[in-house]
Symmetry: C2
Subunit: 82 residues, 2 copies
């Protein structure tokens, strides 16, 4: 398993409730790809969301986001962390 | 206080030790601006680093990173999180 940080753009105006619903949509199907979404952070003003996950591959994360209706714009494998 | 996520590019090849030293350089002077650096994640292959912090303003975070020798390329106020 590896750690990934992905980013979604174009989410300006997102509310706390919408973020929770989007996260729940991911969590609901994450087991099908062996992904665990751990955290999400949103900047509603500039419309950016970051998600931290553990997953077997970046593609597994991207597939879950895609199927949940919010494809990611960028993803990074982050093997180093503090 | 508010939560911020910033990003540094151009850090390809960074090692775990270098990440720790860079983080320590921030932590050493963070109190001068009321900033607390909580986490950092690095993708050494694509040279991207993300830092999560609590701070009074984005500028306070940027000033610490700048003075510590590694200015950030992007920063987002992330008031929403899961």
């Amino acid at each position: 398993m590896a750690k990934f940080l992905d980013m979604h753009r174009g989410m300006a105006g997102i509310t706390g409730d919408q973020l929770k619903r989007a996260h729940s949509a991911d969590v609901e199907i994450q087991d099908e790809e062996g992904v665990t979404f751990e955290h999400a952070w949103a900047d509603p003003e500039e419309g950016v969301i970051y998600c931290l996950s553990e997953a077997p591959t970046a593609d597994a994360v991207l597939r879950i986001h895609e199927r949940a209706g919010h494809p990611a714009d960028e993803i990074h494998h982050v093997p180093l962390s503090i």
